[in-house]
Symmetry: C2
Subunit: 316 residues, 2 copies
């Protein structure tokens, strides 16, 4: 597996890409589009004065604007990089600027809701190919982005039935150009898979960090000091962007509640094993989970270095 | 904060240290004792033929034996590095070999139960100073150890009331010599602090990995593939040693059940907010948890690199 981006394309895939929202994902896209020559021109559209000023200062886009309809004009590829809950309003605001034949995509962690929000606002003759790059860090904003964020990560496309195969192929080529592995599935299946691999873990992490902060008998400074015992691993994802995650939970409600129900049921079984001293049940469960970790390392979605490489084992 | 071990001591603290159990912790101790000259001689005691053979091959101890009473003979410092549930049996088996004035310690993640198991077996005139280095990786066994495992990590001592201050001071000097920061508290408070910073996170991680593996609608390979969305962070600690963790939960039952109860209560509140579309409650909760992450990074118990440094942001 390549650990760096290869050489830039000789010919760009798109003439003009408009990125709507220049947070971690949007600004990383701007960087990789330029680095890999995925589009001839980059238009950055963001509602925040502060973000636009940073994007201009960073020099990662050719044009920077706060006007949605103007920003998407003449773009043959438009990517919504805004929180899931904002997609409908953005689609409505940009619709009059869209060029016939333009391809619209997004990067949302929920697909069913985004499709439902965006589709009604799209004029005839534009192609909507939803996408979700499964990549990120706990940082936000245009300064947090970097060109290799998508390298060796999966990007899931959920092309609707009956969509233009040429449009879907171009979106695939775009993400492959950013270094990603591309997989296709239905929006419905996507939302179920991500509920367990991403949404539930974030909710659990947010929850345990809150529980720890509320204890009367253990101080917050003790929680922080002794976090290397395991707690630390949860705090990273509990530091993720609050707006983005609020929207994810509200817009993938059914799948998240289903996964939460299963999680709680399983947790009660472990709780019962502890209460009744059922060491064999605990041991059996803990042994089974090791194999899954092995699978993740083998697939290159994680390093095998102990402790995430946070401390390097040196010579004995 | 030093990021490497300093020069070795001119004079060792102990003459002969006996390490009981050469897993990740015991074998890391063997390495740092020699590297930092914390003791003149290292005796490695392990019940497993296989482990003894590896320790001999690695050359990390001066003497290797399977006989507990023989192994602790003439040792002025004995450290139990076995699963918490085995401490009573080990103390009983070694008692006749203990030298008068010897200091006994351990590395267990639970302190109340270890004290209750070990104390009845100790002869008059030996000093028991329990310790818990809050450090580890998800790997096990003598090959997994390394000398810097304890560097900049906290080691908690729980010296019993009325213990010999000179003995406690030597154990403190030993852990400081291994690069750790030392803190003292009661065994009872330790078990509460660790229940939330370590035991509960491990239980939650074990649980979510099991829940994900049991889904009928999402395949295990999908869970593994798309784990970068958050799930991955849980799998590391769910790959930890099953025997060690079974014992931790059974031996810190009261505190773990208490923390689990609070966690479940808080999770129901988040679940309810999702069900009733209470975005403000979610946003407020998710904002609060960010600050705790910041505290952990500031205290040097974590790196600020995005994504644990698993992928390096390079130039734009």
């Amino acid at each position: 597996m390549a650990d760096r981006l290869g050489p830039a394309r000789a010919e760009p895939i798109f003439d003009r890409v408009a990125l709507i929202g220049l947070g971690l994902i949007g600004s990383s896209l701007a960087r990789v589009v330029r680095r890999m020559n995925l589009a001839r021109e980059i238009v950055a559209v963001d509602a925040s004065d502060e973000v636009r000023a940073r994007v201009t200062a960073l020099g990662i886009a050719d044009h920077v604007t706060g006007d949605l309809a103007a920003g998407v004009r003449d773009a043959d590829f438009v990517i919504l990089c805004v929180p899931v809950g904002a997609c409908g309003a953005v689609a409505e605001a940009m619709r009059n600027g869209l060029k016939p034949g333009a391809i619209i995509s997004d990067v949302g962690s929920v697909k069913g809701s985004v499709v439902a929000q965006v589709t009604p606002h799209l004029p005839e003759g534009v192609h909507f190919i939803p996408a979700h790059p499964v990549a990120g860090t706990e940082y936000s904003g245009p300064d947090a982005g970097f060109a290799t964020l998508f390298l060796n990560r999966w990007c899931i496309l959920t092309p609707p039935e009956g969509c233009d195969p040429a449009a879907a192929a171009k979106v695939r080529a775009f993400w492959e150009g950013a270094g990603s592995n591309v997989e296709e599935m239905t929006a419905e299946h996507h939302d179920l898979v991500l509920a367990v691999t991403s949404h539930l873990p974030h909710l659990i992490a947010y929850n345990i960090v809150g529980t720890a902060a509320d204890l009367e008998t253990v101080t917050e400074s003790e929680v922080i000091k002794f976090s290397a015992g395991g707690f630390r691993d949860f705090t990273r994802i509990a530091a993720s962007d609050p707006t983005m995650w609020r929207d994810v939970f509200l817009h993938n409600k059914a799948a998240v509640l289903e996964m939460l129900g299963r999680f709680a049921e399983d947790l009660y079984a472990l709780q019962r094993a502890i209460r009744w001293n059922d060491g064999d049940a605990l041991f059996e469960h803990f042994t089974r989970t090791r194999a899954i970790r092995r699978g993740i390392i083998d697939l290159g979605q994680e390093t095998a270095a102990p402790d995430f490489g946070r401390q390097k084992p040196d010579e004995q």
